[in-house]
Point group: C2
Chain length 366, copies 2
Amino acid sequence: MTAIMTAGSAAVDEAAAGWLDTTGRRCLAEAHEFVSARAAEHFSGRSEGALAETALPEFVAGGKCLRPLFAYVGWRCGQPESPAAVRAAAALELLHCFALVQDDVMDGSPLRRGRPALHVRFARWHEEQGWAGPASRFGESAAILFGDLFLVWSEQMLRESGLAAAQLARGWRHYDLMRAELAAGQLADLVNDARALPSWDTLLDVLRRKSGNYTVRRPLEFGAALAGCGPELLAGLAEFGGLLGEAFQFRDDLLGAFGDPAVTGKPAGQDLRDRKASSVVVLAAAMAGRRQQAELAELLELATVDDEAVARWQDLIVATGARDRMGELIAERAGKALAAIDPAVVPRHAADLLAALAARCTERDR
Amino acid sequence: MTAIMTAGSAAVDEAAAGWLDTTGRRCLAEAHEFVSARAAEHFSGRSEGALAETALPEFVAGGKCLRPLFAYVGWRCGQPESPAAVRAAAALELLHCFALVQDDVMDGSPLRRGRPALHVRFARWHEEQGWAGPASRFGESAAILFGDLFLVWSEQMLRESGLAAAQLARGWRHYDLMRAELAAGQLADLVNDARALPSWDTLLDVLRRKSGNYTVRRPLEFGAALAGCGPELLAGLAEFGGLLGEAFQFRDDLLGAFGDPAVTGKPAGQDLRDRKASSVVVLAAAMAGRRQQAELAELLELATVDDEAVARWQDLIVATGARDRMGELIAERAGKALAAIDPAVVPRHAADLLAALAARCTERDR
């Protein structure tokens, strides 16, 4: 812990943040190039593929690239910089694109990163062609298929990254877990949406499997395993990843309720409109006093959650103290995560990068 | 050609058919075991997973296993029997499960193999739980996610099949093409559905990419590449596969218009109800005389295709001569496919199996 705290000087922070920016851009450039080549290979010259050739690479280029960064920092725990490892890490961004595209279809989300979601773009394109049949159904089907392609291309990009077969062999188990947990977690999420309100414990369980593993822990383990790191280091990263993953999701849920649409690229209070049983809502329910319980019950009964209802929801969450408490939980989880990094095991440069990534995950506005 | 024709004796036919049955069962058993283990790993003890643990392995077990059989016959062109190669071939059945589950969602198909489609089963399960929210939406989302898992598990099953890394390395290119072409072909199919009626040439182009490659050619090439077969043999299999794949799809389209529901497990004339621009319909349109053109235009304008309309469609297709012509095209393609197998290049036992598979693809009733 001491080494980490010492590392937190302004110069070190700035150097780490600069490295994250540069490396994130490198990952996105690699992913963009790979997807452009695949889209050209399969869709070049086809009417239905013209949109794919522009929309798919564009979609890739807009990401925050968090999972590749965690994977590459995991790699840097045991190995020097490597273009092949950058490509292997970037493959996780394509996995994430798969998840986003299909989630947006399932949730019926109209916007992604401030622009029309992929299924909306394909539906509009269908309309522009003047074709028969429901455009929305076409848009959803096309988006699901392109999501499938992102899933396929992620694995192909990893396999063709240029890492040695022996290095790849160490990473597959983690990669497979990540993919399967992603789908299983999304399924659990669908179930949670459908129930009235899960308990805090049930919610944490879903959240751990969906975000704690997928966003931070598995990418870190994956990168460190590719680099041949030992069990002691992997165990420390697993603990760090589990805790920071929860903090990441808590922050995500705060943004889903209170985020600024101009920054998040999503409508204000989108999670509230979607009636998501997010951590913020579940915590507010748990902390509500008797009169607040009545208000909560009323909000949950509303047929549609409009702008006024979003404002009422936000007021209620603040009044229960849940918004402030979420902030405390995020800081607490992030602090414990950093404390799990043993300076005797994790190299100094990697610990600095992990601290910078932790800050990026928990203080972000989008 | 001569050798193939000679091989067509009753005893050889029977031996080949028996081998196909046995090997198909072995492939299905391997795929069933792999999926059962993965489902238990990710869903054991979870409420939302109880259905997955029964429904997913059941779904796998019901297949015709054509693609694994083509892959394994491809393997047998260059190598002796091998349990690892059976597993590698069986991985293609999981890829096919992925395609079927998501296609049924996109097409809104209620039945698969005479039973409720997976998205219908999940929707019913949602209703039984008495949960809020639209059950059909939940069913579709869950089916898409399980389709994703089949896609992931296919690649994992192949990688963990037990084949040597050098053998696998020869197969990935064909496997990647198969996966990407499958998604790109389905997209082209969505586009074709939406247009009024494509030309015969456009239809053949889609069909070649979707079925000619996916069902016969790519699996054969994949298996033969795993076995280390040379370019001359691969070229012969590619030609055989392209031609037989078209015959397969023509037969599929005949069954989609005229198949017996008790055997196909789908409602009579399902393709006609779905307004699919199938080869049968496109050929009927091309062959229709002036009065038949008027009847065709009327049928295409109908708001819904009910039982009576299906009967009118069937009469029209028969009257144009398209049904008989499809039969001729199937026999012609299958004959040319078998003629592409050079007895100087393809081992006799593999040629016998290819002939038996060709018969199975073109004479099937389901």
